[in-house]
Symmetry: C2
Subunit: 349 residues, 2 copies
Amino acid sequence: MAEHISENAPPLPASRSRETVTLADVARAAGVSTMTVSKVLRGTGAISPETQKRIFAAAGSLGYVPNRLAGALSARKSMLGAVLIPSIADAIYSEILSSLHSLLDDASLSLFIAESRMDPQVEERQIHDLLALRPAFLIRSGGIASTAQAQKLIRRMGVAHVQIWDGDDTGGPVSAGPSHIEAGKIAASHFHDLGLRKVAYIGAETGKDLCAGRRMESFAGCMRAKGAETALITDEHLPRQAESGEILTRRLLETYPGIEGIFYLNDAMAIGGLRTLLAAGYRVPDDVKVMGFNGTSREQTIRTRLTTISTDGWKLGQDVANAVLELMAGRSPDQPITCPLTFHRGNTT
Amino acid sequence: MAEHISENAPPLPASRSRETVTLADVARAAGVSTMTVSKVLRGTGAISPETQKRIFAAAGSLGYVPNRLAGALSARKSMLGAVLIPSIADAIYSEILSSLHSLLDDASLSLFIAESRMDPQVEERQIHDLLALRPAFLIRSGGIASTAQAQKLIRRMGVAHVQIWDGDDTGGPVSAGPSHIEAGKIAASHFHDLGLRKVAYIGAETGKDLCAGRRMESFAGCMRAKGAETALITDEHLPRQAESGEILTRRLLETYPGIEGIFYLNDAMAIGGLRTLLAAGYRVPDDVKVMGFNGTSREQTIRTRLTTISTDGWKLGQDVANAVLELMAGRSPDQPITCPLTFHRGNTT
DNA sequence: ATCTCGTTTGTTATCGATAACTCATAAATC
DNA sequence: GATTTATGAGTTATCGATAACAAACGAGAT
């Protein structure tokens, strides 16, 4: 029993000149068939302990690294998933991504990442490119438009599809995220409760981000319903950063004097806006009230506590990851994924 | 010539019950062989315009999405790359990731993303898992330790390997990033020029992040060389966030009274430190000078301009992406990738 | 001693594409 | 008109694994 290289082992092809170690190499070294190695390494099938030990030893000493691409092709099912978000560097998305990764990694799922830069055309191409990798699931931001054709393709290819960051939409794929209509309403109610009559919304990358657009419309609509008009200062091309907040706030001050409250697209832009307001001699919140969105400022500011609305990106990521796992297991996530909005009254309103 | 379905087309296997459209389906629809379709869709080989048109039409109407996994297996070369970073949500890494993606996406390279959470063991496993996907390249942070065995494996598998965020290391794989030794020196010089004698370094996740460790040592070493001692307030478990900056600064004030200057691990922690210092009645910079690292604060603060050292993450990402493309093309990047450090004197020193 | 059975291991056929040839056919050369 | 040369398109063999089924084997049952 000392020599286990059985002489009736099938004649496996000689190792290729490439230095890659394959299942066949391990099988030859352990004196078994490739199938046995495959079973042992994946923990399926019933293989005797001694054989297992021999195979593990052979795999270890050869430095075998399985080829999961080949495995996926053969098994017609991959442990790969894709995440497509508008912006990797945006704090809210990077937090969700990190959260998603932590849970999915535990389930041995690998993630492809792609960024659509808020461009529907890029989004469309990315979907196509990602589907070419035959992922088991696709997590997309609902904020970017995608054609019905792309949606159909995703469905036809049997990819578990979860939309994030858009809790309003219904009817489409499983979706998880905050309600932006609700967010706009919260901001409007707050400004109304403070008795403001002349307010503004400041945004960027207008028209590309459906979620921000919905927030804006909800905000303006609610203000109008309360009898107040909203100045909309937006720009199609400026990025959603502090500097754009500065620029657009300057533009607002020039165009609409006497504004009493500003609701910004996000915290970064609100921070920029505060710089401009303070530099221009406005007192906040006495002269102008300022409100942000996303809550990312709470980590970064020192004395200022921006009034803002936050969502728990980490929790959202975990919920989405769980939904994905459910979908992959063939179950459909029973309860809708809720993503609450938390209002933070700071010292800017 | 109206009917192009040639009757002597080879008998292709009947479409499987699965609804996936394969190259063979397109070939059958266009009345050609799979090889011809493959050539046309990849733009290789010489195929007549009419045949091409027919094939594109067939692919389009069938909604064909190529299986790049199968393609990679067959061609023994993939258009997949892997990025392994300590923290996806960390601003500096997410910016680099975004930058990398933008350039590599143009080259039709897809990215796997993985996060090691600063844990060498996780890093090791991630490397293994990522290599199982047979990427063409692997971009890793040099800040996390990985065993020589892992390095050897990466080399043996012929994966283009680029280390980021660590410009000090030499001898290993191609690496790109700022010099943390230099960063520590800059901070020390600044404090020395201001005439400070009692200074401190505040860090978190000590021992895990080799880069931060090198910064700390360089800083303390330079201060000592100038005749000043450095109090090291660090914690192994606290995350590198503003709140940890608050906590550790409180700890510092309790333990080492009379500190004149604090160099923080990053801007976020410095922001937290400023909160604590101001709340405790210290005047900054009159009583205590504060310095951060990474420059992420410059986007987020309002009146405070933190003295900090920044690097251009976007440029670093582009440089690394270009280096990867060079390596994949078989060339080795001629010039070393430099990543300058920019010193910003704000109003906290 | 024969037979059924359960445990272990091996065989065969794919998975969906691509590399490297080979084979027609029509144009070009002498 | 015969031979050479480009082209355009098809054949065959893999790539590295896995599914599904088949076979060998010793153990207990009859």
